[in-house]
Each structure stands twice: as C-alpha cells, then as structure tokens.
C-alpha cells in the first residue's frame, strides 16, 4: 500500500475470507465454530445415551433414591437402618467421607509439619530417617499403603477374646477394631459445652489483649499457661459443681466380643492411618521447601537481633514460610479427600462405597449414581479451591 493511495478507502467491503484472515473477525469465527463443534459432540453423546437407554429399556430418574436401601452400613454417624432410603445411605456415605477426610487432614498436617521440620534438623540421623520416611511413602502407591495398613491391623492384633485391655479398660485393640470409651451425655452437659466454648473464646480474647499489651508496654506474659487455665478451669469447676454430668462408658467383654463403648473399625483405622501417613510425606516436603525458600538472611537477621533459634522459627521464619506452604498444603487436603474414595478397597463405607458401590449395584442406576458421586466430589473440591483462592488473595504480598 502506497501513501498515494490515500486514506479515503480504509473501510474495505466485507468479504467472506475476512472471517478467517482478518484478525478482527477471526476470533469470533473460531469461537462460533468451537461452540458448534462442542454442541455437536455433546448432542452426539446425549443422543447415544438416549438411544442406548431406550434399547436397554431403562429410564433416567432419581426416584430410586427414595426407595428403601435394604443394606446395612457398618459405620453410621446418623441414624440409619436397612429400611432407610438410598438417599439416607448416600448421606451416611457423605458424612463418612467427610469424617475420614477431616481426621485425615488433621493427622497428616501434624505428622507432615513435624516430619518436615525434623527433616531440616542438624541431627544427621534424624534428618536421614525423615528423608527415608518421605521418599518411602511418596514413592509407593497409596492403595498399597491402605491395603498394607489393613493387613497389618488384621494380622498383628489379637482376637477380642485375647485382646489386652489397656489404660484401665479405656483402649482395647483387637483384630476387628479398636474399642474406646464413649461419652454419655447426662443432664447439664449442654451448659458444660457452652461454658467450654465460651472459655475458648475468652482465651482467644485474652491472647489478643496480651499481644496488644506486649506491643504497648513490652511486658511479656506467660500466655500459654494462662490460656490453658482459662480454657480448662471453668469447665472443670462446672463439671464437679453439676455433679459429673458427662460419664464414660467402657467397653466390656461379653461372649466373643466387646459390648459398649465406641467401636472404631479396622477399616476406618487402616484408611485413616494410611491416608495420613502417605499425605504427611507430601506435606513434609511442602513444609521443608517452604522453610528453605525463606532466605538465610532472615535467620541471620533474627539471630543478630538476639532471638533464640526456637523464637526465630516461630516469629520470623514460619509466618513467612506459611505463605508458601499453605497453597500446596490445601491441594494436598484436596488429594487426601479424593484418595479417601479408595475406602472401597478396605470396605469402609464412604460415598463411593454406598452410593457408588452397593446402591449402584442394587439398583443398576449406574449413570445416576456416578453423576451424583462425581457431583459431590466436584462440589467439595470446588469449595476447597475457593477457600484456597480467598486465602491466596488475602495473603498475596501487597506490592506497591
């Protein structure tokens, strides 16, 4: 194009080729084609499903959820009998999944942080041992760990009749599971609960006040012990004033088995231990790399201010390292939650075992069951990533 041709005819007449060759239109063309292809593929899949369903004489409906489930679940957090509906069985499964995920995350975090910090220990033996732990657990499939844990519990513990009764009857390990005392809530335990929660809040408030005071005056209070006293003492006093409203029911050997108390099944213990130990190895690596990512100058600066190693860790290194550690930590929680679906391998009845297992096999509603199971996991992981995004936005370095 020469200058002489002028600027007058800048607006070219529209040609069909411009849909592809002109940058202004190309993106629209491609997107419309994409939508078209996507809808075509979707329609094809749906059409196949409809046709296949028609051939098999099946219908797509969720009404089976309201029919009696007719199977038993060995661990239920809410009331459930074999006459309950499939929907209730699914809810029991969901609660079991959430229980194992929650407890697993707690144990995995505790173990992971301890191991990750010990991995950086100056003690050669300790750091090597932790390396062996991390590499050993990370490099073997979690399913194998779950199966091994389940075998270990079943094979190495005695049968109920020969089981040792430890801690004065408070803890009985058997090859079927663990018996622990269960609390019996008597009259007035509600007050106890309220007071307990109130004193936790009180301890938090006190912590804030002590912090502010320290910032203002420089005086340091032994906050840990005072907080502990605030949390425990009022509840303890009330416990005796109300005449011990909460009692423990101990398991007792009757016939071939223990009665009473709380029975924690081996399937639960195996899954819990295996998932926690496995995930702890990953968390430990996250913790280690998070701590190592903090530059050495921070430690040196803290030392030169006269801080002791433990305070340097707590006040200088960890707060900064947490920013790096927490995002991968949350994605490990997500992994643990998803891995908890392997419960099916040891017979722990989580959502995959109830809705995606027995209900699916009994009713033959594969499509509906799997859709619901996937939807559940999807919701959980979207919620977890939502939390992660909120955290990331809150913690991101405010650069100016």
């Amino acid at each position: 194009m020469t200058v002489a041709s002028g600027f007058a005819d800048e607006v070219q007449p529209f040609r069909l080729g411009m849909l592809i060759n002109d940058k202004r239109y190309r993106s629209y063309t491609l997107q419309i084609i994409t939508i078209f292809l996507f809808m075509l593929a979707f329609a094809w899949l749906v059409n196949n499903v409809v046709e296949n369903f028609a051939r098999a004489g099946r219908d797509f409906s969720f009404s089976y959820l309201f029919q009696p489930a007719a199977y038993d679940i060995n661990q239920t957090l809410i009331e459930y009998t074999s006459r309950s509906t499939h929907l209730r069985a699914a809810v029991v499964g969901i609660l079991n999944t959430l229980l194992i995920a929650f407890l697993g995350c707690i144990l995995a975090t505790v173990l992971g942080v301890v191991i990750g910090v010990l991995r950086l220990s100056k003690n050669w033996l300790v750091s090597r041992l932790m390396t062996v732990y991390i590499e050993g657990f990370r490099n073997v499939p979690v399913l194998l760990w779950i199966l091994l844990a389940s075998t270990a519990l079943a094979a190495s513990l005695p049968s109920p009749r020969q089981a040792p009764v430890l801690l004065g009857g408070a803890f009985v390990p058997t090859n079927r599971g663990f018996y622990v005392p269960s609390p019996v809530w008597g009259d007035g335990s509600v007050f106890l609960g309220i007071v307990f929660v109130a004193s936790i809040i009180g301890a938090l408030v006190f912590g804030r006040w002590a912090h502010a005071r320290q910032a203002a005056t420089g005086e340091i209070l032994p906050t840990f012990w005072i907080k502990l006293a605030i949390i425990i003492l009022p509840a303890l006093l009330l416990y005796f004033i109300l005449g011990r409203p909460v009692t423990l029911e101990y398991p007792e050997l009757k016939g071939f088995n223990f009665q009473g108390g709380l029975f924690v099944r081996n399937s639960f213990m195996a899954l819990w231990l295996a998932l926690s130990l496995y995930t702890a190895a990953f968390i430990a690596e996250n913790v280690r790399s998070g701590i190592q990512a903090i530059s050495n100058g921070q430690t040196e600066a803290a030392y030169s201010l006269g801080l002791q190693p433990s305070r340097t860790m707590n006040l200088v290194i960890l707060p900064q390292a947490l920013r790096i550690i927490i995002p991968p930590l949350i994605s490990q929680y997500l992994n643990l939650t998803k891995n908890s679906s392997l419960a099916i391998a040891v017979g722990y009845m989580d959502i995959t075992g109830t809705l995606g297992g027995i209900t699916l096999n009994q009713t033959g509603k594969e499509m509906e069951c799997l859709l619901l199971v996937m939807a559940f996991y999807l919701i959980v992981s979207l919620l977890i990533s939502l939390v992660m995004n909120i955290y990331n936005n809150a913690m991101a370095l405010k650069e100016r």
């Binding site: 592809i20 060759n21 993106s27 491609l30 997107q31 994409t34 939508i35 996507f38 899949l45 196949n48 499903v49 046709e51 296949n52 369903f53 051939r55 220990s121 100056k122 003690n123 050669w124 033996l125 300790v126 041992l129 590499e135 050993g136 990370r138 490099n139 073997v140 499939p141 979690v142 399913l143 194998l144 199966l147 091994l148 075998t151 094979a155 998803k338 891995n339 679906s341 392997l342 099916i344 391998a345 995959t352 995606g356 699916l360 594969e366 499509m367 799997l370 199971v373 996937m374 996991y377 999807l378 992981s381 979207l382 990533s385």
Partner: protein, 436 residues
C-alpha cells in the same frame, strides 16, 4: 610514622611484653569422632533425639531383619514347604509367580515382545530426557507408540502399515488445503481426513491386505491377558504419551483470549481434577459404552486407557500452563515484534521453551499416574495389586500375606524413586539461572 615506632613498649601498660601461655589444642573438628559430635550429639536435645531414634531403628531392624532376610525362603513349591524350611518370609511365591507379577497372563513364549518394548521405550524417551542426542532419534520417538502397540497386542503388520499410510494421507491433505487456504483450516482438514479413513475404510482395507498379501505379522494377544507390571506400564505410558498433545491443547486453550475456548478448557480441566480417578474408572467400566453409538464395544483395557488419558491430560494441562506462565513476558512480546502470528510464535518461540521448563513437572505427573494405575485393580484388572488375589487363591499359596505387597511396593519404589531423582537432576540442569 617513624614517631609512633620510636616509642618502645616498655613504658606502655597495655602492651604485652611477654607471650601468653599456650592454649590446649582445640577439640577435633575433623575425623569421625568430631563428625559424630557435630552431627549427632551437638546439644543435649540432639543427643536425646539421636538416642531415641537410634533405639527405634535398632529395635525395628532386630525385629524385621530375621523375618525379612535371614530366615526368608526363596525357593519352595508352596507356602507349606516354606514353613517347613524356615520361619521367615516366603519370597518363594514371588520367585515362582514372578512371570504373573510382571506380565499377567501374557503367553509365556511371547515374553520377548513386552521386554523388547520396554527397552525400546527408553530409546524413545531418550531424546526428550537427554539433550545431547541426535535429533533424528525423535522420529523413532514419534513412531514408538505404534510400534509398541503392535509389539504388545500383535496382529497383522498391515494394520500398522495402513495407520502410517493414513497419517501420510492426512499430511498430504493438510499440504493440499494449506496451499489453497489458511493453515488452521488445513490442520482441521488433515485431522478430518485421517478420522474419515479410520471410520470408514481402515478395517476393510486391513482385511483386504490380509486376504491379498497373507497375514504377515505377530501372533495377536487379547487385552484380557495383559496384567502385572506390564499393565502398569501400558496404562501409565499410554496415559502420559496420549495426554501430552491433549494437555498442550488444553493449556493453550486455557491461556486463550477467546472466552468460549477458555471456558470449555477450564471446565474440562477442573471437572477432571475435581473428581477422584476411581470414579472415572467406574465410568470407564460401566458407563462409557452408553456414550458410544449402540453396538460399539471396546474391551475394558481400551476403555481404561481412554479414561486415564483424559484424566492425565487435565493434570498435564496444568503442568504445561505452569511452563507457559513461567516464560518471561518478553518472549511473547519479542515474537509479536518480529511479526509472527499466533501459530508461528507458539510453535517456534513459546512451546519449545515452555515444554522444556515443564519436563520435571511432566515427569512428576508421570510418577503420580504410574502410582495411580494401581486403582485399575478395583475395577477388576490384573495389575500387580489385582493379580495378588488369583495368586492367593491358589491353594499352594493360600495364606500368604506380606510377601506380595512388599515385592510390588519395592518395584514401585525403585521406579518412582529413580524417576523423581532424574527429574530433580533435570531441573538442576535446566536451571540455567535465567530469571526475567
């Protein structure tokens, strides 16, 4: 200067006029004793840790070593014989059933095929994992999936030849269309041509070739015979190789300016990453046939391979997206400044660098996938974990507990650990210190 020196020291109080007494030699800072003191007993807390952990290690070794090593039996015909010979572990089961643990029920006279494939796999992966090999080797890498498929499943050689022919045909269609119109359209046309070939003509053409030229080829092996670590590798490697192109497309789509494309890619990635693999495998085992035209049936291994590929591609997309995001902005801008369009800059500037950065992540994804393949045992495939059941139900080995999972775990450990070390080494090698 000479002033200061002229003052001698005898009348200045703070200048020493005699040497101090000798100090004792410092405590060793080298040698084994010093090492022990520095690394094991430097403080009292350290000493306690060392003693506690040392005690635990000694107890564990004392308890396990006799069973695991000294009293173990390596050769016997049944568990009963093992118990008669010695009190320890009965690794004879691993010894006797090694073939099944490695190959499943693959015909034993054909073992050379998976073994050959296994070694060819290293040749195929070499040019990706090592950067000073001849580039020509990449052609072998590209041909490897077909070759591996043919070696493992067997069948007439014509089916492979015709697949290659179909790819060549697709390439010519691509060339022809790109001479007429735009390149994007040409790519679509090429893919469509290949798909058309497979949908319409492929099976008949293979039949024709077999009837005309005779069935030259390898003895076919059914999918159901695949098992053991062979299955682990087939699923893992197919998943990773198949997911690479898909993952690249998804990652590019996720970075795209086009909202529709971006939405579809994000939706797919987040869906797959949000559900556990086991539910996807359930889909493969009970649902996938509903999504296909009535009458189509795939065998279960093929369905699993499809699902695992889709699964891995979502994770791969995230890894590659990380690589794309790690590229300095200037690379994109420089490509734009040279007047390169999207496809040119992606092919020659962005992807080569982004993929190179992503290699450690890809290896890590592979390790994860390799471990996750064990889940196929839950839907009844005979991978190393799935095959334990048939072995245990043999009355000779009934009652064997620990030996099989220990063996499987060790093999997994060796492979995964080696790969993770390699990926760390590669990461260090790639880290040339370029920071934007």
């Amino acid at each position: 200067m000479s002033d200061t020196h002229s003052h001698t020291s005898n009348n200045i109080a703070y200048v020493a006029d005699q040497s101090l007494p000798e100090l004792p030699a410092p405590i060793n800072t080298r040698g084994p004793i010093a090492w022990v003191r520095q690394n094991l007993f430097s403080t009292w807390r350290d000493s306690i840790l060392t003693i506690v952990f040392g005690y635990l290690i000694v107890v564990a070794v004392m308890k396990l070593a006799p069973w695991l090593l000294f009293n173990a039996t390596w050769d016997a015909n049944s568990l009963r014989e093992c118990r008669e010979i010695n009190t320890g572990a009965c690794f004879a089961v691993v010894n006797r059933r090694l073939n099944q643990l490695l190959f499943g029920f693959y015909p034993s006279h054909l073992y050379w095929r998976p073994i050959l494939t296994f070694f060819l796999m290293f040749v195929a992966f070499a040019p990706m994992l090592h950067d000073n090999l001849p580039r020509k080797l990449l052609w072998f890498t590209a041909a490897f999936p077909l070759l591996a498929y043919w070696l493992i499943w067997g069948g007439p050689v014509w089916s492979i030849v015709l697949v290659v022919a179909a790819l060549v045909w697709g390439y010519f269609v691509f060339r022809f269309v790109s001479s007429l119109a735009n390149q994007t359209a040409a790519i679509f046309a090429g893919i469509a041509a290949v798909l058309l070939w497979f949908l319409i003509a492929h099976d008949d053409a293979v039949q024709l070739f077999v009837s005309v030229f005779g069935s030259v080829g390898l003895e076919p092996v059914e999918s159901a015979k695949l098992g053991g670590f062979l299955l682990t590798f087939v699923v893992g490697v197919t998943g990773i190789v198949g997911s690479l192109p898909l993952g690249i497309l998804l990652a590019l789509g996720r970075q795209s300016d086009m909202p529709v494309v971006k939405m579809i890619c994000v939706g797919f990635i987040e869906f797959i990453r949000g559900v556990p693999l086991i539910t996807l495998l359930f889909v493969a085992s009970v649902l996938l046939n509903y999504f296909l035209p009535p009458g189509t049936t795939f065998d279960i291994i093929l369905r699993v391979l499809i699902m695992v590929t889709l699964f891995a591609s979502a994770y791969m997309a995230e890894v590659i997206r990380g690589g794309l995001a790690a590229l300095p902005r200037g690379q994109y801008e420089a490509a734009d400044a040279l007047g390169m369009n999207y496809s040119l800059s992606t092919r020659f500037i962005i992807l080569p660098q982004a993929l190179k950065i992503s290699i450690p992540g890809i290896v890590n994804t592979f390790i994860g996938l390799f471990k996750d393949t064990t889940l196929v045992s839950i839907i009844g495939l005979l991978d190393p974990i799935g095959i334990m059941q048939p072995i245990r139900s043999d009355q000779n080995w009934n009652g064997i507990i620990w030996e099989l999972p220990i063996f499987a775990g060790l093999v997994f450990f060796v492979f995964c650990f080696t790969m993770s070390r390699y990926s760390m080494y590669f990461e260090r090698k790639l880290d040339t210190g370029h920071r934007n």
